[in-house]
């Protein structure tokens, strides 16, 4: 499996580490939202937005849309630019 880092180009998956659901990009601004933010995750069979860290490359945090059934990578963007 490879990911195409927006900064480094296509690289082997071993340069990256999975860092969880992309809901982590939406840090709540009020205390009420934190329970869901920290604990509640979807577990979809299909397209899923997730965060990857390019630790053996540029150190970039990436937002990756990946099909959890086929492992097909649908898109990769820098997390800083992909924030909603």
């Amino acid at each position: 499996m490879r990911l195409t880092c927006p900064l480094c180009g296509p690289r082997d998956v071993r340069e990256f580490s999975y860092r969880g659901d992309a809901v982590l990009t939406d840090r709540p601004t009020t205390p009420e939202g934190f329970h869901d933010y920290v604990h509640i995750r979807e577990n979809p069979a299909g397209p899923h937005d997730e965060l990857w860290h390019h630790g053996a490359g540029c150190g970039g945090w990436l937002k990756v849309r990946r099909d959890t059934v086929t492992h097909e990578v649908l898109s990769v963007a820098l997390a800083r630019e992909a924030r909603s």
Binding site: M1, P28, V38, H71, E72
Partner: protein
């Protein structure tokens, strides 16, 4: 028997080899199997379970029987298939699973006991008494049922791994693979052609066929010459593609040296490649399958296609009187080729009532072979004629063809299932099962040579979206088969010779209701040997289908998993073995420490000096001396391993306020502050000091263990949470060598190496700044991890060794010296500083008595969640100190648990745990840190410290979590 005028072996290069202690001759270009057959050796091993005599069945990697140990000593290679092992001069091969010899194997008694040893026998037989299973039954069974064994010694050889990239990966170099590679090559695409054999050409080397008017091998040579001349093509022989993975990635094992008498200097024994392919053509061919009949495992019974391989490729007749048993046209081809070569064919037996074949030999249409005779080697066979009469037919070799199974394995590695094709009575790959992969040739059920050539060219053209190239002339016969799987009758008819699974076992599985194909596989172990059932799976499915009244596609297939053929674990590891298993991070004082005889401890990748024993000292004596030395004079320790992150930018202060629980925007330039970081769930992540070197410039230190984690966390905060903040940071852990200088004489030492004034006025406790260290620009921090008056002094890493030596020399002149991690740990426990032994991911700021460090004036990561009920208060285990009532108590170790004085010792009454413990030379007894339920309110109480793993119990007084200099006068003085 070797035949003149046949084969592609090099008769001008004779070689000698040894098999089971006897010397034989062969030629370059032989495999071990072909050379053994040329020497009329048919008995080559004993079977896994019943120790039945076995012979060579195939001429390829699907071989179930001919597993040998090649070589001697530490590097001996067990379970090597003789059918793929290239012959070389001096090769030494040993048969496996037989004692005292192949001809006389005492474990053959298992074969007589076969009625009791069927599928699942051990589940039923060895149930009682239960306790004996692990100690007696299992070891005995494992010993009796076995293959070759590794030497257990380091082979002293290296393996390698690597990456390759291409537009088109072609797997297999038969007619389909060669045409696919040519198509890609002529279009200028980057092509990798991987062939598991040592010769390119696939079946073209094993048949008497012409392509484009030339003999097959000649056409292969011309194509390979063209491909070799193309700069965009990489030809890889001896390379088996073993697995298909996500994103067009394939694993491939390249054998580098198994065909050589010795490993060339510096060469790896094998290389495991990860091939990233834009598109892939699978042209891996097909495997001929056998037909099950009684005693069909006798040495001499082999694939009809293998007989042709030995004839045409190696010039070997596997027998002098060959019979053929076939349900399709392929067996007839074997008979015809043998007759043309002058080998006697005693009969062709075909269960079909009529075929159009007519050969000058005995032909028995509508007949079946009911039994093979000859324990150590085939003598004759029993044939049942259509009228029911049984006759004996002489045969020292029986060539069997039950049809062909396309090698669909790789197309199933990503959870794909093959489709059943009625035309060829076999499974074929399902298109699209592996994205980007197209199957061609026999691997896709296209069995004629012209069909293979054509489909290879088409597959590559389709994959690359280019025009196909012209296809040369070749044989284009249709393939006729009538499925025939099993000759009913008494006795055992083997399906999976490698795991000794017979038709009877499949019937037993059905009888015991293990009818799902995956259950049947596990109950009988069919297909679970090292050949993964390449020969046996489809036959077993056919039997199960008949038993359950279903058809084969309904029964389905078992799951094919990587690797396609066995891969040595060492090849996956590559260079990550022995001393290069992982990187070694050495501190700037490493050379000095080794000169001083230090013992080392590994902290992550770092090697840190643990203690510096003097003559006669054990670790504890050295540790005690070093601790006392720091308390009384001055010690020097390398603290370079702590994570150092340089943080700069207009928003650096705001950024730190958000990642630390406490305030850093209010920290004055030239000062250091202790900081605490939480995870977003409210638990402590890490701690450390952070120095403000300028208005927009901080240097953060992290613990050694969490340096990487904190860096990634900061990147997350900056890139994902707050990209609007103008702040940048970089790890400078490797750039700065840093040393702790601690003890009452620390300032005397520092004054001697630092040019600037280091009085309390200029460098008070928690002061910091740029200084000149022995003429080198450096940094000085007045911080302490020991409770003593202490500094950390940093210089660019290239001066680290020099500074370590300068500091040590001066410390020794003052009565001090180097101290290691053990003393550093004792000093911090005495003083009440925490490490990751305490902040182990389960504790909150309140647990460690730092609840008030979570600033109420601002938000920070983890603040909201740290305020949850249950994360602070009397129900939590809080950090306390422990002091044994008996000062001589020796049994106080981290990991012990705490209980109230009179409580029963149960998990329910557990009151906490010990996180750190040591002997304190300063106080003359052991001390410890513990987390005790509501501990802060229980100072002065006595608790029981129970260590179940060591079987000890110690009574301790609960104290404040600080033993040494509670007023802090020494730090400031």
């Amino acid at each position: 028997m070797r035949l003149q005028g046949f084969g592609q072996i090099d008769r001008s290069s004779p070689v000698r080899f040894e098999f089971d202690g006897r010397s034989y001759g062969g030629f370059a270009g032989d495999t071990l199997a072909s050379a053994l057959l040329a020497n009329d050796i048919r008995l080559i091993g004993r079977s896994f379970k019943y120790h039945r005599p076995r012979g060579i069945v195939t001429a390829g990697s699907e071989e179930p029987n001919a597993l040998m140990t090649i070589g001697q000593g530490a590097a001996a290679n067990p379970n090597t298939r003789a059918t793929t092992q290239e012959l070389y001069d001096g090769l030494v091969a040993r048969s496996q699973n037989a004692w005292p010899s192949l001809g006389l194997d005492v474990m053959e008694v298992n074969d007589l006991l076969a009625p009791f040893l069927g599928a699942g026998f051990y589940y039923k037989t060895f149930m009682w008494p239960k306790a004996i299973w692990e100690k007696l039954y299992e070891p005995v069974i494992r010993h009796a049922a076995g293959l070759g064994a590794l030497s257990g010694q380091d082979d002293g050889q290296s393996y390698d791994t690597g990456f390759l990239h291409c537009d088109l990966l072609v797997i297999g170099s038969g007619p389909a693979g060669l045409m696919a590679a040519l198509t890609g090559a002529r279009a200028g695409k980057r092509v990798i052609l991987a062939e598991e054999d040592f010769a390119f050409g696939g079946r073209l080397n094993a048949e008497a066929e012409e392509v484009a008017g030339q003999p097959g091998p000649a056409w292969v040579a011309s194509v390979i010459a063209e491909l070799a001349a193309a700069p965009n093509v990489r030809l890889m022989r001896r390379t088996t593609v073993t697995g298909a993975y996500d994103g067009g990635t394939f694993g491939a094992l390249e054998q580098v040296a198994e065909h050589l008498p010795s490993l060339p200097q510096g060469a790896p024994r094998a290389t495991f490649w990860r091939i990233a392919a834009g598109r892939t053509v699978l042209a891996g061919g097909a495997h001929e399958r056998m037909i099950a009949f009684r005693d069909n495992d006798r040495p001499g019974v082999m694939q009809a296609s293998a007989v042709r391989s030995y004839l045409h490729r190696y010039g070997v007749a596997p027998g002098r009187k060959v019979a053929v048993f076939t349900n399709n046209d392929d067996g007839w081809r074997t008979a015809a080729d043998l007759i043309a070569a002058g080998v006697t064919v005693t009969a062709v037996i075909d269960p079909r009532a009529h075929t159009q074949h007519d050969l000058p030999c005995r032909m028995i249409h509508g007949g079946v072979v009911t039994r093979a005779h000859g324990r150590l080697g085939l003598d004759n066979i029993t044939v049942r004629k259509p009228d029911g009469a049984e006759i004996k037919v002489d045969a020292d070799c029986l060539a069997v063809s039950g049809g062909w199974n396309p090698s669909v394995h790789l197309t199933c590695h990503m959870n794909g299932r093959p489709d059943w094709s009625e035309d060829i009575a076999a499974f074929v790959p399902r298109p699209g099962a592996v994205p980007g992969l197209i199957a061609a040739g026999a691997a896709n059920g296209m069995f004629s040579t012209h069909g293979a050539l054509r489909s290879g060219a088409q597959a590559a053209a389709e994959a690359l979206d280019i025009k196909p190239i012209k296809v040369p002339q070749a044989e284009d016969a249709t393939f006729e088969i009538t499925p025939f799987w099993h000759v009913e009758g008494p006795g055992r008819a083997f399906l999976d010779p490698q795991n000794d699974v017979s038709v009877k076992d499949v019937k037993a599985a059905h009888q015991e209701n293990f009818r799902s194909v995956e259950h049947m596989k596990r109950y009988t172990t069919l297909g679970m040997a090292t050949d993964q059932g390449k020969l046996s799976n489809v036959g077993a499915l056919a039997i199960m289908a008949r038993l359950t009244g279903r058809d084969i596609p309904e029964v389905g297939t078992t799951t094919f998993r990587p690797p396609y053929t066995p891969v040595p674990i060492a090849a996956f590891a590559g260079r990550a073995a022995r001393d290069t298993f992982r990187p070694h991070r050495l501190t700037p004082s490493d050379a000095l420490s080794r000169e001083r005889g230090a013992e080392f401890i590994e902290a992550g990748l770092w090697h840190r000096a643990a203690w510096f024993p003097q003559p006669g000292e054990d670790w504890l004596a050295a540790c005690n001396r070093e601790t006392t030395m720091v308390r009384e004079t001055v010690g020097v320790a390398d603290v370079t391993t702590l994570g150092k992150i340089d943080i700069q930018g207009p928003d650096a202060a705001v950024f730190l306020d958000r990642v630390y629980t406490n305030m850093f925007s209010t920290l004055k330039v030239g000062r250091v502050r202790y900081g605490l970081m939480l995870r977003e769930d409210g638990f402590v992540m890490d701690d450390g000091t952070c120095a403000r070197l300028g208005d927009q410039h901080y240097v953060m230190t992290t613990t050694t263990a969490a340096a990487g984690q904190v860096m990634v966390h900061l990147q997350f905060c900056q890139q994902v949470l707050w990209p609007e903040l103008d702040v940048r940071f970089i790890s400078v852990t490797d750039q700065w060598a840093q040393f702790a200088v601690a003890g009452p004489k620390a300032r005397d030492l520092i004054r001697d190496v630092v040019a600037e004034d280091v009085s309390d006025e200029s460098f008070p406790y928690m002061g910091c700044g740029a200084v000149t260290v022995l003429g080198v620009p450096g940094r000085l921090f007045r911080i302490s991890f020991s409770g003593e008056h202490a500094y950390e002094v940093a210089v660019p890493a290239r001066y680290g060794d020099a500074l370590a030596r300068a500091l040590t020399e001066r410390a020794e002149a003052l009565g001090g010296g180097l101290y290691g991690m053990e003393a550093l740990n004792v000093l911090r426990i005495e003083k009440g500083y925490i490490t990751h032994a305490e902040i182990d991911g389960r504790v909150t700021a309140d647990d460690i008595g730092m609840g008030r460090m979570v600033s109420a004036k601002k938000d920070c990561v983890g603040k909201v969640m740290s305020e949850r009920p249950g994360l602070h208060g009397p129900e939590r285990c809080q950090l306390v100190g422990l002091r044994p009532l008996n000062p001589d108590a020796a049994a106080l170790h981290a990991g012990a648990h705490l209980f109230a004085l009179k409580a029963e010792i149960t998990p329910d009454t557990d009151q906490g745990w010990l996180s750190s413990a040591c002997y304190s030379p300063t106080f003359g007894h052991r001390i410890a840190y513990a987390f005790l339920k509501n501990g802060r309110a229980r100072h002065g109480e006595t608790v029981r410290v129970v260590d179940r793993t060591k079987g000890t119990e110690t009574l301790c007084d609960v104290t404040a979590p600080m033993f040494y200099d509670q007023e802090g006068g020494k730090l400031r003085g």
